[in-house]
């Protein structure tokens, strides 16, 4: 019995607990100091075009969370059998298959929204975050770590998307998730009674860029280590 116990202990030593400090860092790091959008400059294409409404931003964030989490695990499981010369094509096929699943699910359960997102669901395939994480992390690490890394990065991406979507919808149309929170602009209730007007400019695409620029400004002035020279 003593021997068995000893053996078990030996086996256990190299194994990290599922949520060790290092693993937790994989999730929390991309949320702030290593954010995919504001620091790594990845995945901006799709981030900006669909953030005029909070709902679309949330759906996009969840889709990327699914694709990146599952894709990272799949690539990580296959990492030893993918020939390095054709790995880009293999990665693209894995992502494309996952994105097709997301697209079909959205078409089945949220048709209006999938119309609104139009080609941008398809563009998750070429979202640089996904290829970037596959290349930089999943090809070199085990499935569980890759999963955490995928979830963390997708969450970091999603947070920026949701912040941008929140401000653009709130200031642009005075609603959140389609619910009027500032009162009725036609009946002149709530804030509108005081003469407040919606800023329609927030709904136009250039404002997404400027909002992200401002987020970067805030983030970097809070953390001086991130400042570029």
């Amino acid at each position: 019995m003593a021997e068995v116990a000893e053996q078990e202990e030996i086996v256990k030593v190299p194994k990290e607990p599922l949520f060790s400090k290092k693993n937790r860092k994989l999730i929390t790091d991309p949320l702030t100091d290593n954010n995919p959008i504001t620091i790594q400059v990845l995945g901006i294409c799709s981030a900006l075009a669909i953030t005029a409404q909070l709902k679309a931003s949330i759906v996009m964030a969840v889709s990327v969370l699914f694709v990146l989490g599952v894709g990272n695990v799949v690539i990580s499981l296959m990492r030893n059998i993918i020939p390095s010369k054709i790995r880009i094509i293999v990665q693209l096929i894995v992502v494309a298959a996952l994105v097709i699943i997301v697209d079909l699910v959205l078409k089945a359960f949220a048709y209006e929204l999938s119309k609104e997102l139009s080609v941008f669901i398809g563009l998750i395939i070429t979202n640089c975050i996904i290829m970037g994480r596959f290349e930089a992390f999943a090809l070199a690490n085990g499935p569980w770590k890759s999963f955490l890394d995928g979830i963390g990065n997708a969450a970091g991406y999603g947070i920026i998307l949701i912040i941008v979507g929140f401000f653009r919808e709130l200031l642009g149309s005075g609603t959140l998730l389609g619910i009027a929170v500032l009162g009725d602009p036609i009946e002149k209730t709530g804030l509108y009674a005081l003469g407040y007007e919606n800023n329609g400019f927030m709904l136009l695409s250039p404002m997404a860029l400027i909002v992200v620029g401002l987020i970067i400004w805030v983030q970097r002035s809070r953390n001086k280590a991130l400042i570029e020279d």
């Binding site: 693209l92 080609v119 979202n127 860029l209 400042i227």
Partner: protein, 246 residues
């Protein structure tokens, strides 16, 4: 005329960077110097000009509902459009590889100037976006598809050239420290996009305006119609009255 309209529309009004934010990753990453920006821009024009017409053929003759009719009547009901993502991206990835090999073989100087950018382009959203927009906008002919590919590539080229030039100059101005680099580039792109929005008036009465009048317009026309009807009724009544009086 149709060609000219699509050409200017894709360069200025539906500019890939400023209107739809496609290819932003490489746009931000490779725009530090004008010379590299020109290299990447040229490569994007080139690859778009090859892949958009190719994917148009694929869409028309393989993927679209009823596209397989040329194989025989029993295939006419197939709709493979759910496969379009995977087919488009496979076409793009293989085309990029092929183009790389061919260019390396026949024109080493061009290969050297495009350099590392060619493989990078396979995962550029602008390329896949070009094909997906081609599909969703129902581009009608192969010629128009080629035109669309080239002109949206030129639009992307112009955008990256402009931002690279600005970034080279802005190094000498005193930007607030936290905004330096990425932050100011975002804001600059936003301002440029606002500038590009003014091109929207260039083609008034384009297909978009005719296809989808805004709800406001619809309501206005409805009101006007109602007013006209009312007036007509009143006129009739007045005429009747005068007739009765006589």
């Amino acid at each position: 005329m149709e060609h000219l309209e699509l050409f200017f529309k894709s360069i200025f009004i539906d500019n890939m960077v400023f209107a739809t934010f496609l290819g932003m990753c490489s746009y931000l990453a490779v725009s530090k110097k004008v010379s590299t920006a020109i290299g990447l821009g040229a490569a994007v024009i080139f690859v778009l000009a090859v892949t958009v017409p190719l994917n148009w053929l694929l869409d028309q003759y393989v993927l679209r509902e009823g596209a397989l009719a040329w194989l025989g009547p029993e295939y006419a009901s197939y709709d493979l459009s759910f496969l379009s993502f995977i087919m488009f991206i496979a076409t793009i990835a293989t085309m990029v590889q092929l183009v790389e090999i061919v260019v390396e073989k026949f024109s080493p100087s061009l290969y050297n100037s495009l350099g590392i950018f060619l493989p990078l382009i396979a995962v550029n959203c602008a390329i896949l976006g070009g094909s997906l927009f081609m599909q969703s906008r129902d581009i009608a002919t192969l010629g128009l598809a080629l035109n669309y590919g080239v002109s949206s590539g030129i639009g992307w080229f112009l955008a990256i050239l402009a931002i690279a030039a600005i970034r080279e100059k802005i190094r000498y101005s005193s930007v607030p420290a936290p905004l330096r680099g990425l932050g100011i580039t975002f804001i600059l792109t936003g301002l440029m996009a606002i500038g590009f929005m003014s091109f929207g008036g260039m083609l008034t009465g384009g297909d978009e305006g005719n296809a989808k009048p805004s709800t406001e317009q619809v309501e206005n026309t409805k009101k006007i119609e109602q007013d006209v009807k009312k007036l007509a009724k009143e006129k009739e009544a007045v005429e009747l009255k005068t007739a009765l009086n006589q």
